[in-house]
């Protein structure tokens, strides 16, 4: 939680002083600018790469709501992400006329429900049991989907990407990027709104000392369920456009451990205390990954992220944002 000392100082400077609507407007403006630049570049590689980075920002921010703000580590990111992706596959086969945003909402809702279910069973216990349960959840959801022929099972599913983007024209990839940008605005606005609200204080109290929070009147189970549903829901929404992005989705790639590691590593490296951390982590780590993938190899880039994560967790637990905050004081 950004302490009120720092908050007061920055209340007078720039972005931290903005009210909710003003912040959303600023985000939308930034998103529009980014989209505009991408269109100017015109290269579809730019759109593909940018989509990945923004997707990771969404995943990291979603993870951070439960992990950084509330202190409960969710290792089952791949489960929620894939639930979103595969719910799109199902809708694609049953109701292909459904616009993508609607599919995203459905994917998010499915993932949120699964999060609630898992949470309801495990959140009354110590945090570690929740984390272990999410690990096992990832394997189980993967097993279920690998055995589900309707979505292609182990053989995978093909999704035809429309040629033309609705609303804005141009290549469909540009539309995917726009949608992902919209999702990013939504999750960042939500994260920031939480930080400054009673809900955010409740989360912080749970993270700092759950027994004391409960004794102070905080309905810890209810809040943890809220955090789990929000976090899982956004992760599902981040996964929902994936089938259109890759056009061929199989369990091996949909459940790739990379998603899990990145979703955790980026907030840990960027900083878990505020919405800014996952953004910084997403851009830096995403950029670094892309660079290594292109220059050395894709297995090495994944190794580097893992090593960085361990290093930051040990040496700089407050992340990059924390390093800057300490310099300020």
């Amino acid at each position: 939680m950004v302490s009120s000392v720092v908050k007061e100082e920055e209340e007078r400077e720039g972005i931290r002083g903005l009210g909710h609507l003003a912040f959303i407007a600023a985000l939308v403006a930034a998103a529009a600018v980014i989209f505009g630049i991408a269109r100017l570049i015109g290269n579809s590689y730019a759109f593909f790469a940018a989509y990945v980075v923004v997707q990771y920002i969404v995943l990291g921010s979603a993870w951070n709501i439960l992990g950084g703000y509330t202190g409960y580590v969710n290792f089952g990111i791949t489960a929620f992400f894939a639930i979103g992706a595969y719910s799109t596959v199902v809708l694609y086969k049953l109701t292909p006329w459904l616009p993508l945003p609607a599919m995203i909402v459905v994917g998010g809702a499915m993932a949120a429900l699964v999060g609630l279910g898992t949470g309801y069973l495990t959140l009354r216990l110590r945090g570690v049991f929740f984390s272990i349960a999410t690990l096992a959840l990832a394997v189980v959801v993967q097993t279920l989907i690998t055995n589900w022929d309707f979505v292609g099972g182990a053989r995978g599913a093909y999704v035809l990407r429309p040629k033309l983007a609705p609303l804005i024209g141009g290549d469909y990839v540009e539309y995917l990027f726009l949608v992902m940008l919209g999702l990013c605005v939504a999750v960042l606005a939500t994260a920031r709104a939480i930080e400054r609200s009673a809900l955010g204080y409740g989360f912080a109290a749970i993270r700092d000392d759950e027994a004391a929070a409960e004794a102070s009147g905080v309905p810890t189970l209810r809040l943890k369920l809220v955090a789990t549903a929000l976090s899982g829901g956004f992760m599902g929404m981040a996964g929902a456009p994936l089938p259109y992005y890759v056009t061929y989705l199989d369990p091996a790639s949909g459940f790739s451990l990379n998603y899990a590691v990145n979703a955790i590593a980026m907030p840990l490296i960027g900083g878990t205390a505020s919405w800014v951390g996952p953004v910084i982590g997403g851009i830096l780590v995403g950029g670094l990954q892309e660079y290594i993938r292109v220059t050395i190899s894709s297995a090495v880039n994944v190794l580097v992220v893992g090593v960085l994560m361990v290093a930051f967790v040990i040496l700089a637990p407050q992340g990059i944002v924390g390093l800057f905050q300490r310099k300020r004081r």
Binding site: G67, G68, G71, V73, F75, L121, T122, L125, G127, V128, F129, S131, I132, A133, L135, A136, L137, A138, V139, V140, Q142, T143, L144, T146, N147, R207, L257, V261, I264, A265, L268, T272, A299, V300, V302, L303, G306, V307, M309, V310, V313, I314, P317
Partner: protein, 291 residues
């Protein structure tokens, strides 16, 4: 009818043997999580490391796989000491265990898996030994050596550790640390040093567990993840801090998994351990024989 019954009996028996193997891979976590309260979710990665050590010993040097892991046992023990030291300095001392400690081990799990992929590739590896194929023929039943040897290895490991914990001074100190660190400090013993040794032992068991694993099935780097759920389901079901409980839970899970695999197909096995874990957590979180 007798066909089904035969199938069931076979499933139960091989499930029993499988349970012994599961005990071999879980005893390390029974120590690190059950007794030391350190959530080492990276344990399966080190089991895999043991498997690959057995693989190298076997294919490059022609040694028996179990012997190969016994040779590297000291290295694993030292590695355990090192990892605990890092964990202690970075997290336990700062009392910041939950989020970052878990992420630390998750990172190690991940780095180990990727490291193995880069070194050995994603192909399945297996070992050669007389017991990897063939059965022990007792008149009424045939027991595959492939299952029997890991089963015996698992039971032996648990028995030796149990004796160590209850009969030796160091072992009893470890039990004391597991129950009450404060009292230990008052007796002028250093709990950190004892925990470090115990953690080292937990890593040592991973080496032998790895040998058991590669005997039972060919390995490739990503199978570690399947075992996290299994191992923790077993430790939770058995009750943290209880070896006998862990063994019972291991055998139970082995049997239930095997019956499920026989009648519904092998790909449902991971769902079984998750189901067991969830049910245990929901109904009786302290486990069968937990404190």
């Amino acid at each position: 009818m007798t066909g089904s019954l035969d199938l069931l009996v076979n499933a139960i028996i091989s499930g029993l043997l499988l349970g012994g193997f599961y005990a071999a891979v879980s005893v390390g976590v029974a120590i690190s999580f059950g007794m030391l309260d350190v959530v080492n979710i990276a344990h399966p990665a080190f089991i895999l490391l043991g498997s690959y050590a057995a693989f190298i010993g076997n294919t490059v040097f022609g040694i028996d796989p179990i012997l190969a892991t016994i040779i590297v046992l000291p290295a694993f023990y030292l590695l355990g000491l090192l990892v605990y030291q890092v964990y202690y300095v970075a997290f336990e001392r700062r009392d910041d265990q939950s989020l970052r400690g878990l992420s630390f081990f998750f990172g190690i799990l991940f780095v180990a898996e990727v490291g193995l992929i880069l070194t050995f590739g994603v192909d399945y590896r297996s070992v050669q030994a007389w017991y990897v194929s063939g059965n022990l023929n007792l008149h009424f039943i045939e027991l595959p050596w492939r299952l029997l040897v890991p089963f015996l290895l698992g039971l032996a490991m648990v028995a030796v550790l149990q004796l160590f914990l209850s009969r030796t001074f160091l072992g009893r100190a470890i039990q004391a640390v597991a129950q009450d660190q404060q009292a230990l400090r008052l007796m002028a013993a250093n709990p950190t040093r004892i925990k470090r040794i115990a953690f080292g032992l937990s890593f040592a068991t991973a080496a032998l567990g790895g040998a058991a694993l590669i005997i039972i099935q060919p390995v490739e780097p990503s199978i570690g993840r399947e075992y996290i759920g299994r191992i923790f389901a077993i430790c939770v079901l058995g009750g943290l801090g209880s070896f006998p409980g862990m063994v019972i839970a291991a055998v139970t899970l082995g049997i239930v998994e095997n019956i499920t695999a026989t009648f519904f197909g092998p790909s449902w096995a991971p769902a079984v351990s998750f189901g067991v874990l969830l049910i245990t957590l929901a109904v009786r979180p302290s486990g069968i024989l937990g404190r």
